[in-house]
């Protein structure tokens, strides 16, 4: 028992610093991928709603593929495939060999690409859920499209999509564990390395589970309060 405690401590044999660092990295990767997903998701939703035909189709296919292929496969594909793709592009166009994206970037990008596919659906549904009269009232008063989006659509979409985005965030947080396969020492990989080298898998996976629970609980609480705020006008 004392053994186990010292393994989890901050001493020379303790894994606490690495596990905490892993937590921070997990949060950083999840946040980066969420941001990538939001930007790309908004663009995809726009493409689906208002883009020209070819763009609508492309966005549709993107969604079907990225939501239909296992996240693990996407991560592995990007991890192994992207560097060689960049290299061959660089060769084709005669650029200097660019520096290659590190696991952090590849991991956030791959989780972000998947996240974008889900977020696009959420934004599309959110815009669709706004009553048609809302747009008409704005247009009847001479609002431009941009003004209409900024003043009327965005605040209402925010309320509708925030709970769903909270779910996507939770998925991002958990999907980030898959990035462990690229060797990025986030929480999952740190616990795996610790379990392998100390041969105490039960202990370390248990601790990792507890840490993930802390992360998911904290963030869902944050989304809960964010949701309450954005929802303040909807409580009759």
């Amino acid at each position: 028992m004392m053994d186990d405690l010292s393994l989890l401590g901050f001493g020379p044999d303790g894994w606490a610093p690495l596990l905490l660092k892993g937590c921070m990295l997990t949060l950083a990767v999840s946040a980066t991928s969420m941001a990538i997903g939001t930007v790309l998701g908004v663009l995809l939703a726009w493409a689906r709603l208002k883009g020209p035909r070819w763009l609508r189709r492309t966005a549709l296919v993107y969604g079907v593929v990225l939501r239909g292929v296992p996240e693990l496969l996407v991560i592995l594909l990007l991890y192994f495939g992207l560097p060689s793709l960049i290299l061959s592009l660089a060769e084709t166009f005669g650029w200097d060999a660019p520096g290659l994206p590190p696991p952090f970037l590849i991991g956030s990008l791959s989780v972000g690409l998947v996240s974008a596919a889900y977020q696009a659906e959420i934004f599309r549904g959110g815009v669709g859920a706004i009553a048609k009269g809302q747009f008409e009232a704005a247009r009847a008063m001479g609002f431009s499209d941009l003004q209409c989006f900024h003043r009327i659509v965005l605040p209402q979409v925010a309320r509708i999509v925030l709970p769903a985005l909270g779910n996507v965030w939770q998925f991002n947080l958990k999907d980030s564990a898959l990035i462990a396969v690229t060797g990025l020492s986030e929480l999952m990989r740190t616990s795996l390395v610790a379990a392998g080298s100390t041969r105490h898998p039960f202990l370390f996976f248990g601790v990792a589970m507890a840490l993930y629970l802390v992360l998911t609980t904290l963030s869902s609480t944050a989304f809960h309060y964010g949701g309450r705020y954005s929802n303040r006008w909807d409580r009759g």
Binding site: G14, Y79, F80, L100, G183, G196
Partner: protein
């Protein structure tokens, strides 16, 4: 596009901070300094080990510190999973693989190798209460390159096939022993591949696999640990042939300049006893390779 590398470096530092060790090599006459990234697993004791505080230690980090200085290289050591190592090398993510990489013919098809900086044997390990614990020819060294093949060796190999029939053997994915297993034990045993040694060892301890085949330098310290007291080394020790001609650094085939620098440094470290000193420190045995004794076996250098 020009922003990408810089952003990449920033993230790389953040991400690799915990597992990276950076050395600045002293100025060395002749060659200009070059910055390289060296990939290692950080989970293959005693060759390379991740300490809880994130630093990398072991035979290879120690040796590389000296080699990088002598070759005037600014080396960054990064930990990454073994199964992505060769892909990472080919994708220029890393420039050198330092992970007890055996110089095998199969690998030479895709990689270039430096001169060997160590030579070690492969050995089987199983559970003490397994029937395999009584395997024959324990401690017998089989040199698979020996020609003509001694009769005792042929007998030992066929005995091995009989003893292992129907058993499950675990290896790390794309391990050194793939070639050997394909040639001598294909169809006889079931092979399970693991992403890391740690996962395989856990399954060996739990008994999900009957045995594993790995380097003596890795297995001896493993067996010394208290929680591995149920394990035992069994059967003959293997060297040469499909197992390769010692451990060398894996390089891209077109990176001949780096190979020449490293080879010169390895040669000097072998000749002045540095390799012997470090292998005694980490392996409790001398693993110094004979660089000129086996002309065929050292042919890891890149073809011009």
């Amino acid at each position: 596009m020009s922003r990408l590398p810089r952003a990449g470096v920033g993230f790389g530092l953040a991400a690799a901070l915990s597992l990276a060790a950076t050395w600045a090599g002293a100025a060395w006459a002749g060659e200009p300094q070059r910055a390289i990234v060296i990939g290692t697993e950080g989970a293959f004791p005693p060759w390379n080990i991740t300490r809880p505080d994130g630093t990398l230690i072991g035979f290879e980090p120690d040796l590389l510190q000296i080699l990088c200085q002598r070759a005037n290289l600014r080396c960054q050591l990064v930990a990454q999973d073994w199964d992505g190592m060769i892909g990472a090398l080919q994708a220029h993510k890393i420039d050198v693989i330092a992970d007890a990489l055996q110089i095998t013919p199969a690998r030479k098809a895709v990689l270039a190798f430096s001169l060997p900086y160590a030579i070690t044997t492969g050995v089987f390990v199983t559970q003490k209460d397994s029937p395999l614990a009584r395997m024959a020819n324990r401690g017998l060294v089989l040199d698979l390159d020996a020609s003509p093949t001694p009769e005792r060796q042929t007998e030992a190999l066929s005995a091995l096939r009989e003893e292992l029939r129907g058993k499950t053997l675990g290896v790390a994915i794309s391990s050194t022993y793939d070639g050997f297993l394909d040639k001598y034990l294909a169809g006889v045993i079931t092979i399970k591949s693991y992403r890391t040694m740690g996962e395989r060892d856990l399954d060996l301890l739990s008994g999900r696999i009957d045995l594993t085949l790995d380097d003596t330098t890795y297995l001896r310290p493993l067996l010394a640990a208290p929680d591995a007291r149920d394990l035992v080394l069994v059967g003959p020790e293997l060297i040469g042939g499909e197992l390769g001609a010692g451990e060398g650094f894996g390089l891209r085939k077109d990176d001949t300049a780096l190979a020449e620098r490293l080879n010169a440094a390895i040669r000097s470290a072998v000749e002045d006893g540095t390799v012997r000193r470090l292998s005694l420190k980490w392996f409790k045995a001398d693993a110094t390779p004979a660089l000129d004794a086996r002309p065929g076996a050292t042919g890891g250098g890149p073809q011009p």
